[in-house]
């Protein structure tokens, strides 16, 4: 039986479903940011949102408060979420360096102008 997400949410505990819905919204916003923004830093912000949406799922499936001891992934979800956070930091550092280099060379951060490799 399918429950509505917001039905009886004030009096009952939330489940993994609610976290997955929040993660899906973050993920979709991030993908749309990556697709529609023309500013290179906006694209980077979209990537951060996508990574957070994925992290939300890892935390939800690893939490014993949302799914009970028997069903949860245990600590694996939280460990993978930690790795994702660290890799996101690394990715942001390199991407920001590339964006600043592009800005120095082209005097612009419009991603549509990064077309020198199109052959």
């Amino acid at each position: 039986m399918i429950h509505l997400p917001l039905a009886s949410l004030l009096t009952e505990p939330v489940g993994a479903m609610h976290y997955v819905v929040v993660g899906a919204i973050l993920f979709t916003c991030g993908v749309l940011c990556m697709a529609t923004k023309r500013n290179a830093l906006g694209v980077l912000m979209g990537i951060e949102l996508v990574l957070n949406g994925a992290n939300m799922n890892f935390i939800a499936f690893g939490s014993r408060y949302l799914r009970g001891d028997a069903n949860s992934m245990g600590l694996d979800g939280q460990l993978i979420a930690l790795f994702v956070i660290v890799l996101a930091a690394a990715e942001a550092a390199v991407a920001l360096a590339i964006v600043l280099n592009f800005y120095n060379n082209h005097n612009s951060i419009d991603v549509d102008r990064a077309d020198q490799l199109q052959g």
Partner: protein, 201 residues
């Protein structure tokens, strides 16, 4: 009518904040405002991590993500925010196609999430019977290779080493890429095609 279950109320608060500001990042045109909305959204995400019992990951989210990565992004915004780059508008066609595809993706994901009975959460009595466990020590022990929670599982020592070396290499590479190596000469500016982008579409 039952009494209010406060963790769910806080879930609504943090989840609503995270989703609202994520949408604000998407629809905002101003890059400075987008950075601010992203900080608020990720901080609310850390609150959701705390609510799910992942206290260490929530703290790391606040310290590394909000305190490190986003400060880096804000510096990027400050370094590049000339007048003409603060507000960049996308084509209306991009928005239409993007919202069609994004709406389809979102509908699929949410439909999949709500249609699985095992993800519905437990009853209130079960949830109130749980005891709170701190996760910092088991996580730290897992990262050095020993699982406190389940000794049969393998630890994460090798991925931890890989990710630490990866972080070192990446930071050295980023510093190498971003260093100020040469001034832009007039020749380089003149040789750049001034009408770039006109041959697209």
């Amino acid at each position: 009518m039952d009494a209010i279950y406060w963790p769910s109320v806080f879930f609504l608060l943090f989840g609503g904040t995270a989703c609202t500001f994520a949408v604000a990042v998407l629809v905002s045109k101003n890059i400075v405002r987008m950075a601010f909305y992203l900080i608020l959204s990720l901080a609310a995400t850390a609150g959701l991590f705390f609510l799910a019992g992942a206290d260490f990951v929530g703290a790391m989210q606040l310290m590394i993500y909000v305190g490190g990565t986003l400060v880096l992004l804000v510096f990027g915004v400050m370094l590049t925010s000339q007048e003409r780059f603060v507000e960049m508008k996308s084509d209306a066609g991009d928005w239409v196609i993007g919202f069609l595809a994004g709406g389809a993706l979102l509908a699929t994901l949410i439909w999949a999430a709500v249609s699985i009975p095992a993800w519905q959460g437990m009853s209130r009595a079960e949830a109130e019977a749980l005891t709170v466990e701190k996760t910092a020590t088991p996580l730290g022990m897992s990262l050095v290779g020993f699982r406190v929670d389940n000794p049969k599982e393998s630890g994460y020592l090798f991925p931890f080493e890989i990710v630490s070396v990866h972080l070192l290499v990446v930071l050295v590479g980023a510093a190498y890429l971003a260093r100020a190596k040469r001034k832009i000469t007039k020749v380089a500016l003149a040789s750049e095609p001034s009408s770039a982008g006109t041959d697209q579409n």
